[in-house]
Subunit: 253 residues, 4 copies
């Protein structure tokens, strides 16, 4: 039994430092690397891909709407064609740094508002998938199980990797509970580590209403921007190890 | 006997249209396509690469300093490492659109201020060349004969393609005469077409001081932003044909 | 009887030219000048404000979401505070060029997606209005009669100027008919000129369903990006003159 | 006897935090606030101007070349007219936030590469000064004593404020010694505090070759980006106080 740990990386920009990439990279198995649209720049991309290579983390494209000042967190009503071409551009950009480092680009995970919209909006999801098909159909698509993005990827013959969030409550339909609800974000590290492990070993999660929801937990999203977050990743790894779950980059089955 | 005709393409941006790409593309053999740093955006890249494919024009990366408002025309004292990584980023971006269109990326030609600086500054030239080597050593490097960029390319084992400017006067050392000098820019279309042809057939140019300078004319830079420019390309092609010179994309020897 | 003619101006950017500002400026009475977020740059702002001064057109801030590549046409879920501060920034920027030219900044008209959202979303409208109050409460706010932006302006004690679109069909509630409906955009110049004039003289418009809707037509939005558009402005002016309607910049009552 | 302490502030951007503004603002008397070209955004500007108001720090425009990814540290060969208009744009933008906060904009200090170039290049210095004259001739211009910027300001009838760097070695001609020379940057806090005080009390500095150079020390540039930097400001203030030097915002004489 195994699972992937993915984390957003390479979100510095110019003189601005963000995230504890040096500390986190050794602890994760997949790095979602910013491609310059919400964060990252060519210098940061170079260093981040190199850092991932050094620690054998699989590299993915963390593609975004073009919104640096908003960090890609603001929904935009871009057309599917705009999203497709923006995605293709970013895939190419990060792909060049992978080529330079002699490592493959392995996956794609949309960022921020684009991630959220692509879970629900099939037209946007299809647009992202079209870019992947055009660029490299071997890329894994990280998506929430049951989401529009997962469906779009599978419909195009791509491999979708089921992503779960151990620090978030789930609805009975397998979607994430709104952050506005009490208890929607779980802060206790022990509880998060325990949830992460149980998601993987049981293939399910207990929803906010008590329902047990089946959930394909192939990659766990972790955060790397605070010392507490780094400790949490360590704890998740320890708890997974105790339960006999290996951590390894996601892979096509 | 043959020569390449190269022209800057894909320099529109968002709602802004620039250049007569639709009219020019059928007339040229190499398109230098903007990669988003001085002009171009993902939508424009998609359309431009598709247009080049349609007309069998070879596609090149027209890489630039990151200066959209200045159209890449302003010198910046970026470090060689910044130039290397900015180049790699842009190569990857356009490369993705080539991949999507099923056509190869064939060459690189720096744009504007970066072009001018790379002809003289070996450290910048080396930086560009390192990016090419890392991305695809089969890419042709368009450079003025005798320039630092040509030397850097050749030193790294890349193929440099000798670029000439039929509408510009030359110094006795084979460099371009400053635009500030009287007669530095040749406006008479017939004269430009004649010069272009003679450069190719004779392998030389008569410098501003009367010296005959040997010049490897493998690709001729033409412009495509005014109706007059389009007519000029037609005239150059006609004059070349009369002299038995074929036009064809530049290629490794 | 009089009415204002407003037109978007100063939408060039860097090397990119957009709009026929030189031809249009003499024909209009209010210029909505781009402030650098969807179009315009400091050089363009300088020239445009100077051009407006020369032709005695009143100058307004054409504020936008920060989306150059999308020309401000894409909705973004920016927070009201972001919109307030983005608006304040743009008001200041254009205000500096007005100060340099010795002319007042007279009005504000949001651009594109922000315009559309501010007609309906009171929180966004209030955000824009707060920026105006903080910067200069004497600024006129161009807004569709009955819109959220008009209400927000009036609630804050600002003067809202009723804006109408002579080339657009209206719904019975005084809102614009969706562009997707047949007949929503009126293309016949004579009909547009006639509608414009009747809106002003009658203070009403015949909606798409035949209803006569009262409409405070204080400023008419005209376009200036094609030769045909320029002719249309001339025709509107001629038709207004025939009906005894003067054109003059909007003013506080 | 009194002196001003100025520090760069408001250099965060979007989600990126830079500098210890909250800790530093109470310790300084003039805040050079980024205007969005090298750092800062409308949200950051709002907060920074508010913070300055709260602590009664005088507010200045920290204008820059448009180079966010390079943090304004890279020289660009922009034309004087471009620099003039870019400066005017930034003055207006920050001026709007000052107006909203009910505080005056008091000074201008170019940032990074523009600062360095404007000390030596009279044409650029004149361009900046023209923007100041057009926007508000009461603005103080922070410039190194004897610099082109000081001369340009004085020639236009503006007040130039003599800026000194207590942690930098000086040449015998009153210019800063190159950072590449050994000893060019002074790291010992006690020594820096001592130098700062002596510059103010003696009106001179001992140059790197032992020469005593007269120097009009009206404002001392301090840094606020590390805990050590904050301590250093405290130490400078203490040492100034011991010597009977008050700290107060720079003012026209």
């Amino acid at each position: 039994m195994h699972v992937d740990l993915n984390c957003d990386m390479g979100e510095s920009f110019g003189t601005y430092q963000l995230g504890l990439d040096e500390q986190v990279m050794p602890l994760i198995t997949s790095a979602n690397v910013a491609c310059g649209f919400h964060a990252g720049d060519p210098q940061v991309l170079r260093r981040t891909v190199e850092l991932a290579r050094l620690h054998s983390a699989a590299i993915g494209a963390h593609v975004s709407f073009p919104d640096l000042v908003g960090f890609g967190r603001r929904e935009m009503n871009a057309t599917p064609l705009e999203v497709e071409n923006d995605t293709l551009y970013q895939l190419g950009a990060i792909g060049a740094f992978c080529k330079a480092a002699g490592v493959p680009l392995r996956h794609i995970k949309p960022h921020g508002a684009l991630y959220n919209m692509a879970q629900k909006d099939r037209a946007l999801a299809d647009a992202i998938v079209r870019a992947v098909v055009a660029f490299d159909p071997a890329l894994l698509v990280f998506a929430q199980p049951g989401s529009a993005l997962e469906q779009a990827a599978q419909a195009a013959g791509l491999t979708a990797i089921g992503e779960v969030f151990a620090d978030r409550a789930y609805n009975a339909d397998g979607t994430l509970a709104s952050r506005k609800l009490p208890g929607a974000v779980i802060h206790d590290p022990e509880q998060v580590a325990e949830r992460a492990t149980r998601m993987v070993t049981s293939g399910s999660v207990t929803a906010i209403d008590g329902t047990v929801v089946p959930l394909r937990a192939e990659t766990i999203c972790v955060h790397g921007d605070t010392p507490g977050a780094v400790d949490l990743i360590r704890r998740i790894r320890a708890r997974l190890a105790e339960s006999g779950v290996d951590v390894a980059p996601a892979a096509a089955r």
